[in-house]
Symmetry: C2
């Protein structure tokens, strides 16, 4: 079984550049090919691998394709797939040290490497999570607990009747709003602060909002800064926001799920000044460490502050060891009890590639995005709609005829619709993939370079593909 | 890389019966062997596989050993490890249909098989989660939303000042209490209902508590029934609880994380009557489907009721497809956005083994537990401290001299301490593994049979190992 699977994977990795990115299929067709009742008798693995190869793979979007620029999506790596196999064959489960001594130590080690990559203090700690949404949720839960203490955990949010306030920018990922809804904080208590022309949080406006809310009897408790917004790749002024957080006693959380690892690239490093001052940092190794889903990560500046929010007492979680490293339990720092051995793939990737090669790969992605930005700027049929931020480019097709004319609102709406049709045609054609974004209220084509396979040449092919899609929809 | 990993896995699976279950190591030793700074240069995969084989594997607890009876722990299977490799090599990510058409359809299919295994209505729906804690959390979030509507999601739990109440038995897993703390419901609003002599929720006491709470102005909104408690394997009277839930308009959630799949075993089937009437059911395929971590699961009777609690709107989650199956998004039904392709291992296992063989394996686990119960009953040095529930046996060592004497409280405390020492000695010896439980306030040795490798003979070896540990600590 293993050998046949490995052979498929090697062939897949070799052919991925030539596959159409998106499958030409429908829910009806897939259901027809896959659906059957729960089988009473088993069948050969070879049959199942055939279904995988013939139905599941061709019916999948190929996120590892060098011109898949949609959303924020990692390509995966061979060594990490092997690590996931080993993790499942060993079947380690990491609720606590005693359940998996060496895997737990390996998680500490790799979390330490990530701290090092970010410049965090050695006293920081953290854990891997199922993804970025859960890392943001977990951070917000810890922040709320530090502000409210055990009263809310014991008696519910009604025990703390003053409205809490968490500050984000207008560009912040909606997982923060979703977390606020789930935690009983409420979406309306997530205040969106305006951004500057580079889509970075306006720190004066942040201070003003905090002052206003305090005056009105609300309780500011948390600010979320972006280290790479998903729409335009903006990094908020982290050091300034850290200063505001300190002044007003707020928990500062950095959402670095998309961009955090770009600190490994020399040309981006200075953007991350101040990141280590945050109380918590969310990162997604399954984004810019190129790892396959799932692997999110949360770093706490002071792990003990987080512990109070999550610890639970039950017979089956009673730890009898007296040595503190051996009494360590991940369940004290997040919502999960059973936990997959995610550290293995992080460790194997970083130890196999080394931080220098990782930094170079990230730097090359930044370079590709800047190159695309330059190509767009130099063209007479495209325009940037936002500055290139990290590896994200937001642009649109702008027919030369419309270029130098003053444009009415209805012209703009026509451009929005045209670019949306171009995006759909591009996605269907399958050679390059961009996703959508709304920038200053206008429809934008958006590409995010996050793949070690991508080259400058791919950016040129992308623009040609977009031109072809534009011709097609103009017919 | 893949071939070397597969060779290791095959050898590991073959030797697992002969390995000591628990590693003889310490945090200090492991740190010394693993710690190094973030490596600048990479190194060969062969080196890393050596570290895995020589440090990580020997430093792990072998959860797949046929006499590992601790907690609720699956052994993993070869086919599922291969599936995890394939999932990571393909690097599918399943936030929504459009992100992964065939993988999404495969998740629908396997969720359908699980519904079938439980006897659920075809209109039910669900999704895989990182584990049981997250499945219980997600269900409670949906239940709260159905009761409170958008007011709490928008304005926080303070917008609904009457205290909410969720009912559990005294035996319910603490992840429910933790979820209540995180959601802003509060641990104190989780009311523990007493159990009968078989550790099943007392339904009359449940009705009484609901009536009392209503009279006092609290709002009962949810009841959690156990389909296999983790301490003694008790299954609550599901049909009766469903009747109470209907009568009082409560959301009924079934925590079947440990026991739910036992419905596939003929001798346990009748215990699950009424399970399909629940509004939600949490299950852990990474428990009794023998799958490696992580794979939890949540089934909703009415998926639309859940959707309202989780949906979010953002550009990057805007779905333009008009066909509803293609507009489907998992983020509408749970907290995560990026999601691992867990369905592949569930599908490969069930299609490879078939439901008959799965049912037989679970039946054999039940038989082993009953056999252990009979051996304990027939012995003159052990006694059961709870009826055997599903595949869980709680018992203790009781020296023949103390057997027929009336025992004082200080005798009982001595027995508690003796059995705790026996457990520690047993775990250290490494041939069999039991964990601890507190049953009616007394310390119990607790074993849970959840491994297709385990035989009746292993139960006999277990008792001999416990006797040997008892001799050792009595020295």
């Amino acid at each position: 079984m293993g050998t046949a699977a490995v052979e498929w994977a090697a062939a897949y990795a070799e052919s991925i550049r030539d596959l159409p990115i998106t499958p030409r299929t429908s829910a009806a067709e897939l259901k027809q090919r896959l659906t059957e009742p729960l089988p009473v008798d088993g069948r050969d693995f070879a049959d199942l691998l055939d279904v995988f190869r013939e139905v599941i793979v061709p019916g999948s979007r190929h996120n590892g394709h060098p011109r898949f620029f949609g959303y924020v999506s990692a390509p995966g790596t061979a060594v990490a797939a092997v690590a996931d196999f080993l993790a499942s064959a060993l079947n380690a489960n990491l609720p606590a040290w005693r359940s998996a001594p060496a895997p737990t130590e390996l998680e500490h080690l790799t979390i330490g490497w990530i701290k090092e990559a970010l410049g965090c203090d050695p006293s920081a700690g953290g854990l891997f999570t199922s993804g970025g949404s859960m890392a943001n949720f977990t951070a917000l839960a810890a922040a709320r607990h530090r502000h409210c203490g055990d009263a809310v955990a014991m008696h519910g949010a009604s025990a703390h009747p003053a409205p809490l306030r968490v500050y984000v920018s207008t560009e912040t990922h909606h997982s923060v709003h979703k977390a606020a809804a789930l935690l009983g904080i409420g979406r309306a208590n997530v205040r969106e602060i305006p951004v500057d022309a580079r889509f970075r949080m306006d720190v004066d406006a942040l201070v003003q909002a905090i002052e206003q809310d305090r005056a009105a009897g609300a309780e500011p408790f948390c600010v979320v800064a972006n280290a790479g917004t998903v729409v335009t790749g903006a990094v908020d002024p982290l050091r300034e926001i850290a200063g505001v957080a300190r002044r007003y006693g707020l928990w500062m959380h950095v959402d670095g799920c998309y961009g955090g690892f770009a600190r490994l690239a020399p040309s981006a490093r200075s953007l991350f000044e101040g990141v280590a001052e945050a109380d918590s940092i969310a990162l997604d190794p399954h984004k810019w460490l190129y790892l396959p889903a799932d692997c999110g990560c949360l770093i706490y500046r002071d792990p003990e502050a987080a512990r109070a929010a999550f610890r639970l007492d039950a017979d089956y979680t009673r730890v009898t060891e007296t040595e503190s490293a051996e009494a360590f339990a991940f369940w004290d720092y997040g919502p999960d009890l059973s936990r997959r051995f995610r550290a293995l793939k992080v460790w194997m990737l970083l130890a196999h590639a080394g931080s220098r090669a990782m930094g170079e790969a990230i730097e090359a992605n930044l370079d590709c995005a800047r190159h695309l930005g330059e190509l767009v700027d130099a063209s007479d049929d495209f325009e940037l709609v936002a500055p290139v931020g990290l590896s994200i480019v937001c642009f649109r097709y702008l027919p030369p005829a419309l270029r130098d004319e003053p444009r009415s609102e209805s012209d703009e709406q026509r451009l929005d619709r045209l670019n949306e049709r171009i995006m759909v045609a591009l996605q269907r054609a399958g050679s390059s993939y961009l996703s959508n974004a709304s920038v200053n209220g206008r429809f934008a084509l958006r590409g995010c370079v996050l793949n070690y396979r991508t080259t400058r040449r791919d950016m040129e092919i992308l623009l040609d593909d977009v031109r072809r899609a534009a011709e097609k929809v103009s017919d």
